[in-house]
Symmetry: C2
Subunit: 184 residues, 2 copies
């Protein structure tokens, strides 16, 4: 089955190809800028993006939406991701007061529209916000997020190691399992 | 001429009625939840909201979108307004470091769709972010925004006085002038 992955992020192709290597699909990346809605909830956004992608393509397609929800900021930036991280980046680690929780949850939701309905697959990695920005590998919140079970930020790990904790890897793993169970 | 003002904010009706009292329109408030797009730019959002309101109503209608752009946060929260202020409120004044600019710009954009095109009317009030939250009148950023020319936050002034500085009053004033110039 041909599966279109709709994204504007050039770095995603290689990553997702790897996550879906055991899934029974022929992955095709389709570059198309989807107008996102204003919402904190990743599942609401992913569902909307999947419907818009299908409306454009008319073929089975998947979209991904990731976000970091910070407890002391009432879940912000959550699904607002790109506009917030492009603007304030690792400065966010200074937004938390000394006595506040530094707990955060990194989440990825995949929306897959098969033409009949949208299926959602979610991955979550819990962790904490570092006291200051650390590491060179700088994608959105990577320099300030420390996954539980480690002491380094995602940025200090770099990609291959980060993938062990990655919320995106979990979500794509769920999706791959669904595709294998529903093939043919 | 009957003009529909599309909003979900019950406090806006009285305020806007006052701003348009000399304009040649019969103002009707129409409650309809418009799905906002994710964008920092108030003009882009207001144009999109006006088109969606017109698509729903099919009659001349206006929408309002307000936002506070904070210089040291690269313009955030800007047009993201409601989701950000509902989540973190006056805590935003702690997001700025001691040595950073506290400059901010409060803006309101009105989008008016006459059925042929969307006209935009903008009001802006420059000011600064207070060191801490001050005042009781708590609408979004009112307790942390000090307009240039005063030492009090909007919240410390309360409505009648705040209207002297209000970016919304300026935008509706522009719109009223347009309506008077184009009546008949």
């Amino acid at each position: 089955m041909k599966l279109y992955f709709v994204t504007m992020n050039p770095f995603k192709e290689q990553e997702v190809t790897q996550y879906l290597q055991d899934a029974p699909v022929d992955l095709q990346v389709f570059k198309y800028p989807i107008q996102e809605i204003l919402n904190l909830n990743l599942e609401v956004i992913a569902r909307d993006k999947a419907l818009k992608a299908y409306a454009r393509l008319g073929r089975p397609c998947a979209v991904e939406h990731g976000g970091l929800s910070i407890e002391a900021l009432q879940g912000l930036p959550g699904g607002l991701s790109k506009v917030v991280w492009d603007s304030v980046a690792d400065k966010v680690c200074n937004f938390l007061d000394a006595n506040e929780s530094r707990a955060a949850s990194a989440q990825t939701v995949i929306g897959y529209c098969d033409g009949k309905r949208v299926h959602l697959f979610k991955g979550e990695t819990k962790g904490t916000i570092s006291e200051c920005s650390r590491g060179d590998y700088a994608f959105q919140w990577d320099p300030i997020f420390i996954p539980n079970g480690d002491t380094r930020t995602y940025a200090e790990m770099g990609f291959p190691e980060k993938a062990r904790y990655s919320q995106a890897a979990k979500a794509w793993g769920e999706f791959a399992a669904y595709l294998r169970a529903n093939q043919g």
